[in-house]
Symmetry: C2
Subunit: 305 residues, 2 copies
Amino acid sequence: MMSDAAYVAVDWGTSSFRLWLVDRAGQVVGERRSDDGMMTAAKVGFASVLQSHLDAVGAGIDLPVLICGMAGARQGWVEAGYVDTPAPLAAVLERAAPVAGQSRDIRILPGIAQRDGSAPDVMRGEETQLLGALGLGASGEALVCMPGTHSKWVSVNGGTVERFSTFMTGELFSAVSRETILSHAVAGADDAEDREAFKSAVAAAFKTPAFAANLLFQARARQLLFGGTPAEARETLSGTLIGIELAAGLARALPQAGIRLVASGRLLMLYRLAFETLAVAVEPIDADEAVRRGLSMAARAIWTR
Amino acid sequence: MMSDAAYVAVDWGTSSFRLWLVDRAGQVVGERRSDDGMMTAAKVGFASVLQSHLDAVGAGIDLPVLICGMAGARQGWVEAGYVDTPAPLAAVLERAAPVAGQSRDIRILPGIAQRDGSAPDVMRGEETQLLGALGLGASGEALVCMPGTHSKWVSVNGGTVERFSTFMTGELFSAVSRETILSHAVAGADDAEDREAFKSAVAAAFKTPAFAANLLFQARARQLLFGGTPAEARETLSGTLIGIELAAGLARALPQAGIRLVASGRLLMLYRLAFETLAVAVEPIDADEAVRRGLSMAARAIWTR
């Protein structure tokens, strides 16, 4: 049944692992998702984690594998280096690093580095999303917002990544909601929503970003003095952190083409609501689709050239 | 030897416990410091924690005890309530809550609450520091910066707390340095210092507070791309968080009397350096002294009136 499979595409992040088995027509014929990210794989072994997922989708022993993400970091499987800014997206797929000593052809795509002493920055995985989201033939300027553990705001011009900034928004949300006094305020808020609290926090943080650490504490103080639900506190926390990110991302002139928002699921919903609160139009692009498309573009370029 | 002791003063915070045995002349004749804060005492029992420290300094069985801080919180020993803003500091020492069922006279000072729906806030412990730092007869306007786990910026006018804002600066520092990707960047930086990294982070965050979550990530990216010490990364983290706090605290017109900085030890050093970086003059007041003086003022008012 799997005889038509052409290659395997893997998005290997810090804490997540996704694999697609793709046929000659570009169709997905098998898929795996797990939390065997770099953190887990660095302990268990990257080769054995990958093999277990390849076995699970019945991938043939000669099938080549293309990987993007943190598996290519220094603390990953094989360091895949960086393409430096200004970084043509085409250069990313030309510099895949081979994993030595494997029976099949396994390669890891490089990241992009901004070696600017006053604004040093790095990405790994997002370059492949960008490839899928914008394509290789993209012309004109684009500003791309890519929410996540480490949100990226990327300026692309004519298919070249010119500059980008990383914001620790998602990781701050986790750390603050688990490891500070706000953990009491948000406890038990797992599924509930409070869009009004989110929107007013986005607006407040956007207006006075310097008060971010005060707006966070207010979520706790409001509950102590006036009651209020855990969902309200959690959405206030989330809206505050996203609001200051948007204050920075929107601080300069926007390109005529507007903003592309590359996200999926709950993050897509939250960021759309945040941009809407600030009356800024965005064009949404599904992040899961984008990374798979980017990997497929790269795989075809590597193994059919 | 201890026959001259008049009362016991206790500053009981979330994670710290300090006790002073004070004689009739106001001199400290015994002292204890430990990490038996509210978090520990809530499990072990407040009465037994206090008694063990009273035994250690040989406090007589009839000696009264005055407490300030989180022991008076809802999750503390006895809820001591709040004086609402505008809060005369004199009202704080008039509303000490007695701890029932104890053989000796034990009272806990209330906190201060700002019941403002658009800027709700609370303090517990800092009101006693303010009492000691400014005294009861203070006239004129004062802006007081009180760095800590939850830094407070307090506007006092004629001995009355008019408004205040809490910033989660210290707690964010702990959470970010322990629970995010920056934990790798700061690992091993325990004693080293890097004042230049601190100062340039303060200046950068003060100038563009919206970029705080980006400036934090740069500490990691700089290390990946250019090397750099753990101390540099830690001071960048610290300077960024203090820099945005100062951007908020200094956003409005300052009183003629300038800013009082109530702090001790390393925090005093860091905040002085931060204010100096921004060319803002401050009058330092020792925080440890201030809380002890505030407790003593309250104890004398309560037990000699």
